[in-house]
């Protein structure tokens, strides 16, 4: 593919309000002028998305069909509520384990009040998003069982670029634990914009995982707003995609928030996984922690860009960030940019980043106990990722995550 530009007819042919049309047209114009991001942009320093897309796609279309799906396959590993999305469109939902009056679930909501962005993928999303869901949990409600968000993509999305917009709002004193579970069989681009709001004293645990290895090229921009004493935990186990970038921005806007983002990834073949976090400490006394662990095989590439920003009034901030990579092949690559930008003095902020191969002394120790080199490496790899997996508190979900990780490791 050489040039990718979308003409305005795609929007102007739709029967929509003037406001919507203006919003979409404005954003399309921005996208067309910026194009897909490339290495010249600081946020894409290690990843030339434009080049990746042009190399791997001959054509791309923004129009997406949503086929009828009659039967859905659910996970049997643990009891759960679910919402089922087909190509980003809300298909069914089931909250049989919960008080239904406390939960509002809707299809994509038409909101066109987003500020202008310089991120061309967000512009593209604003211009074309039609699918997605909006979930709101009422005050004082704690989920009894986990919620699985089935993200199912059919073969109809082949060579498409999907633009999906999701919204999640957890009101005061409420709690939810969700697992976003992606099942995909197509080669396509998924461009998601997700907005999460945690109100006072609320808690969200989110976990991202893929069912299978696939040809998906995913970008997700996640905008989180944390209010007083709220608690956010993001666990990213999404190995298996051809390309994945999780771009997470967390605003800690009131006191006493907690924000933890952890990831354990095993990458193989020519998979490319990037995690970018930006934690904005905007109020005093908040805690944030990021721990990104990547095991890189074959020609895979792992990138971590993490920034901790501390505003001058955000005293007593406690922020720690670490990234570790294990390179198992001479063609693998790990790039990182752990960044601190700090304007308050009474803070504890630090980061660490290491990359290297498996420790030979550890291997030797294991081998003196009769393990062959491959088994010893596997054991060390699992051990390396273990401290992130530990954060999954539910034993049935942990077992599920472990089995998925083991599948990946054994496939290698």
């Amino acid at each position: 593919m050489h040039d990718f530009e979308i003409n305005f007819e795609k929007i102007n042919n739709k029967k929509i309000t003037l406001k919507e049309k203006e919003f979409r047209n404005k954003n399309l114009k921005l996208f067309n002028s910026l194009g897909f991001p490339n290495k010249r942009l600081e946020n894409w320093k290690f990843t030339d998305l434009k080049e990746i897309i042009y190399r791997n796609f001959d054509q791309l279309d923004v129009k997406v069909a949503v086929p009828n799906i009659n039967k859905i396959n659910l996970l049997k590993d643990f009891d759960h509520n679910y919402i089922f999305l087909v190509n980003g469109n809300l298909h069914t939902s089931n909250f049989n384990h919960e008080e239904k009056s406390k939960i509002k679930i809707n299809s994509y909501d038409n909101d066109f009040n987003y500020p202008t962005s310089t991120n061309s993928l967000i512009c593209l999303n604003h211009a074309f998003a039609e699918n997605g869901y909006s979930l709101e949990i009422e005050k004082n409600y704690k989920f009894k069982k986990a919620l699985i968000i089935y993200n199912f993509f059919t073969k109809e999305v082949k060579n498409k670029i999907l633009n999906i917009k999701n919204k999640i709002k957890i009101n005061e004193n409420s709690e939810i634990h969700f697992v976003e579970y992606t099942i995909n069989e197509s080669k396509f681009i998924n461009n998601v914009y997700e907005h999460i709001v945690l109100e006072k004293n609320s808690k969200l645990k989110s976990l991202y995982i893929q069912s299978n290895k696939n040809e998906g090229y995913f970008y997700k921009f996640l905008q989180n707003k944390l209010h007083y004493n709220s608690d956010y935990l993001g666990l990213i186990f999404s190995s298996g995609l051809k390309f994945n970038k999780m771009d997470i921005e967390c605003d800690l806007i009131e006191k006493n928030c907690k924000c933890n983002i952890l990831s354990a990834l095993f990458l193989d073949k020519n998979e490319h996984q990037e995690i970018k976090t930006r934690i904005n400490h905007l109020a005093p006394n908040c805690k944030s922690f990021q721990n990104v662990k990547k095991v890189l095989c074959s020609k895979s590439k792992g990138v971590y860009q993490g920034k901790i920003y501390v505003k001058d009034n955000a005293q007593k901030t406690d922020a720690y960030q670490q990234s570790k990579a294990l390179l198992l092949s001479e063609n693998a690559e790990f790039d990182s940019k752990p960044e601190l930008e700090i304007y308050a003095d009474d803070v504890k902020c630090s980061h660490g980043s290491t990359s290297g191969s498996v420790d030979e002394d550890s291997l030797y120790y294991l081998m003196t106990r009769g393990l062959n080199r491959d088994d010893a490496i596997k054991l060390l790899v699992k051990g390396f990722l273990e401290d992130v997996v530990e954060f999954v508190k539910s034993s049935s979900i942990k077992k599920f995550v472990n089995s998925k990780l083991e599948d990946r490791i054994n496939e290698h």
Binding site: T368, D375, L379
Partner: protein
């Protein structure tokens, strides 16, 4: 069982072992004593097949040369090394590790893999036999273990893996008397006609609890004196210098 003839070992062009001869028969327990830097740990590492050494001379185990056999194959044939400084391996669960290890060895012997239940039973039996708290096995491998716990863990592994030749590399150093007793108990209860031991130590102390059949004094890469257990006492009294 083990036959070492004119062993010469160097690392980074520096010769550490300079023509060492040693034969250990089944059922025998040999102690190697020697001052710091005499090559004791090098001997242990070479026997277990650690990389990075240049080796000449003969090194036979049960009649076959060990020289080209990788570390894990030696372990599978029944050579066990209790490390002087057991490594901490974060994230790796001790129980899980031991089971994988035991099964690798069983598989190599052509035995069936052990199931989880029998493994737990075996662990229970061995921990109580040694008087070790079972809990250390549910922790990460040696992570945050005290020096004594690490050494006890080594002996527990030895008991579970049931090797033919056990090499104890200064297992007694830095231990209090209670831990020392546990180590000695572990060794003594394993001794029989088929099992052999090579106990490397700096002090005679451990040999009060474990009676060696032979004591060798290693100095500057060579065995300078061999005797029975009384030699250890002599060394303790007169020091190493006198023997040279």
């Amino acid at each position: 069982m083990l036959e070492i003839k004119n062993l010469q070992v160097s690392i980074n062009n520096k010769q550490i072992i300079k023509g060492l001869n040693l034969t250990i028969k089944p059922g025998e327990l040999h102690a190697v004593m020697g001052p710091n830097g005499s090559g004791k740990s090098t001997l242990a590492n070479v026997l277990s097949g650690k990389n990075g050494y240049e080796i000449s001379g003969e090194l036979n185990f049960n009649g076959k040369s060990l020289k080209k056999i990788p570390t894990e194959k030696r372990a599978q044939r029944g050579i066990f090394l209790a490390f002087q400084y057991p490594l901490e391996i974060p994230g790796v669960n001790t129980n899980n590790f031991l089971k994988t290890s035991l099964n690798s060895i069983r598989k190599a012997k052509g035995e069936k893999e052990i199931d989880s239940l029998s493994f737990l039973k075996l662990v229970k039996e061995k921990t109580s036999e040694l008087g070790i708290d079972e809990k250390i096995l549910s922790r990460q491998l040696n992570v945050g273990f005290s020096g004594g716990e690490k050494k006890k863990n080594e002996i527990l592994q030895m008991k579970i893996l049931d090797p033919n030749l056990s090499i104890l590399d200064e297992t007694d150093s830095g231990l209090d008397i209670d831990a020392l007793r546990i180590i000695a108990k572990g060794v003594n209860s394993s001794r029989n006609k088929k099992k052999s031991f090579l106990v490397i130590t700096h002090y005679q102390r451990l040999l009060d609890y474990i009676k060696p059949d032979f004591v060798h004094v290693l100095s500057d890469g060579k065995i300078v004196k061999t005797g029975c257990s009384e030699l250890a006492e002599e060394v303790e009294k007169t020091g190493y210098k006198k023997l040279n």
